[in-house]
Symmetry: C4
Subunit: 221 residues, 4 copies
């Protein structure tokens, strides 16, 4: 098994996810200095911190979103064991969208209280649609005839991911349509979708709770 290829792809992707998720904090910038140069008093500082509301909200949302995307990547590459040039290219495309996520998220966070405007929500929806499409392309390409999957693949789990991913882009089209009507709802909807695609199939330790120190071999890779 050519395991080394996947290892470097995963290390590189983990690096990109880690940098992208950490750079988010650079947007949280506020100075405790009065325009005159002195330190703010407690009351003024609280006002400044409170006005960081949309920024902090964008920070948390982007952080959890990229974190959830990392979960998705992690989940998909549990089954992909080999790489070829096509997969590496598709992965680079996916990472480009991941890295881009903070831009529309920060924009949408500013517009969350301006329900008359829809540009930010549409841009946000399009970004997630492209990301879902990238995840789909990676999975379809790698799992087609088991092309790049491991030998001892968990067929049940593979089919489950395939079924789940099948209607991914479709759902995000609905999300873009939703953006024309309700900005805050779009944000919540997209976020729940991201969690949904990461969540249900995730490896659970299948050993019995009553026997905590005996490991099941069925989860061995």
């Amino acid at each position: 098994m050519d395991e080394k290829d996947t290892n470097r792809l995963e290390a590189f992707s983990d690096g990109v996810f880690a940098v992208a998720i950490t750079l988010l904090v650079l947007d949280i910038k506020f100075s405790p200095f009065e325009p005159g140069g002195g330190l703010m008093d407690d009351w003024t500082l609280w006002q400044v911190i409170r006005h960081q509301g949309p920024t902090l909200f964008a920070f948390v949302t982007s952080f959890v979103t990229i974190g959830v995307m990392w979960l998705n990547h992690h989940r998909v590459f549990k089954h992909i064991k080999r790489t070829d040039t096509t997969l590496l290219f598709l992965n680079i495309l996916l990472l480009m969208i991941i890295v881009f996520i903070p831009v529309p998220t920060a924009l949408l966070a500013e517009y969350i209280t301006a329900p008359r405007y829809h540009t930010a929500a549409i841009l946000y929806g399009i970004t997630f649609f492209v990301m879902a499409t990238c995840f789909n392309l990676i999975w379809r390409y790698a799992s087609h005839n088991g092309r790049l999957l491991g030998r001892k693949v968990d067929v049940h789990e593979v089919n489950k991911i395939s079924r789940q991913y099948a209607f991914g882009p479709l759902v995000y089209v609905i999300s873009i349509a939703l953006a024309l009507f309700n900005t805050p709802l779009t944000m919540v909807f997209n976020f729940l979708l991201a969690v949904f695609f990461a969540l249900p199939e995730f490896p659970r330790p299948r050993r019995k709770q009553s026997d905590p120190f005996v490991e099941s071999d069925t989860i061995a890779e």
Copy 2:
């Protein structure tokens, strides 16, 4: 043993710690140019460097704090061998707080000489309280009935961590109360706490000093 899961979680976490700790240097910015455009002379430059005091102090404090948190993470994940979705989510929450630490630390560093004001110290205390809670949740969840621990777990060490962590959040509540009275003391107290949680249980090579080139098997994993 499904070791791959922990490996990627650790690689991703190491990446986030590494980026967060390195970004701190971006705050140390000073120009050696006079307002008129020429280079400062030696005396003026020393003045500028000396005025970087709070910034350098915040740099060192944040660096060591995030470093110590990395020690804590390292220590906890020595025992956690498997992952599930809950643990991955909790880890993302923890990383979010880690990444956020430089913000209240830089703020507090500015207020260290302004003992009348408490907002910065309270924000700092709350951040550490949330972080301690995240570490606790991760440890409780993973160690409950040995859920995600390795098979050959060191029961003595596991219990020691559990006892140590039990009063973590409580201590940080005291720290927040302290922030209402004395800002510099809060900073020192929080820092010593961080070191305390990283320190006592750390793996020491248990082989005899008199026989330096024979490794003990008891520390083998």
Copy 3:
């Protein structure tokens, strides 16, 4: 086999590639606020986004370029199994050029619509010429008499890389000459070259499509 050396070199290089590729997003900055302080309406925001054209183009081009360079690095270090000081130095030189790529790319993206000017295109061409030379030096040094290659090296693949790389710098000299005449064409030409050097020899799963779940041992490393 001293595999550990290559592992750390690859981990460090992956880190540099990951940070360099992610920092690109920091250039995409636009504020949704009117000069007066209010949020822009939909129409104005679209105008602002549309004016980000060259910036977004530079982001995509730099991202894919660095991604392709990562593919090249990945491809070359599939065969290099050991390191020495010379190789580590050459790799640091290569990484320095990789990290520098966003600077001339962003410059060229601004000048893509100003065909009278050639400085940006020449700088871009020189950067790629130096990068191609670094890749060549690494490969020549490591593959000379199989100096740092693995024991079970794929001679056919090694010779293919050597032949491909032989005329790399030459081609980039042509690209610099081209920069004197046509800026957009230079950008397209350089990009296609990067893909060419990454592409043709990339590992393809050599097992038969008709037997998807049996892995060929010939790709084992």
Copy 4:
């Protein structure tokens, strides 16, 4: 052998080195726009690029310096196989200095043409003195009675590092004294020292050149 400890320490350190070395490019910022808003013509752009001289020089020097420090770290941790809290703390201190290096380097690059001033050169010298001391502390602590070294340690190589490191801090004190007289010479001297500490003992493939495809077992770890 508790190899996992060193692995995470190395992964974390590689991450910090990679981020620190890549952030250097953020200092290279120049806009191709005239104050009036239009693109600069070729001649003006060349002038702007030429004025980036000290910045580019600082970029190259810091990049190679951090790269060489990575070589040193790599070299030292080839022999260190286990960790304890003290070593982890010392490593965090070392990383703090590494991350700080771009600050005095950028400062010194500006003052390289102002030989009357010595503040920047002294700060630069002190930084390298502290760094050399950190490397020494790590090596002394880990190698004392073979405390944290591997079982099959290369005694010859270990002694060689110890001898080389012994006069490290002393040499850097000379370098600080030198800074009082000649700024450019200090920079060259410090750089050559860094290369010297990385270079001489580096693993060379010890197999015969006449037999390129047979690996020597003596370099196996």
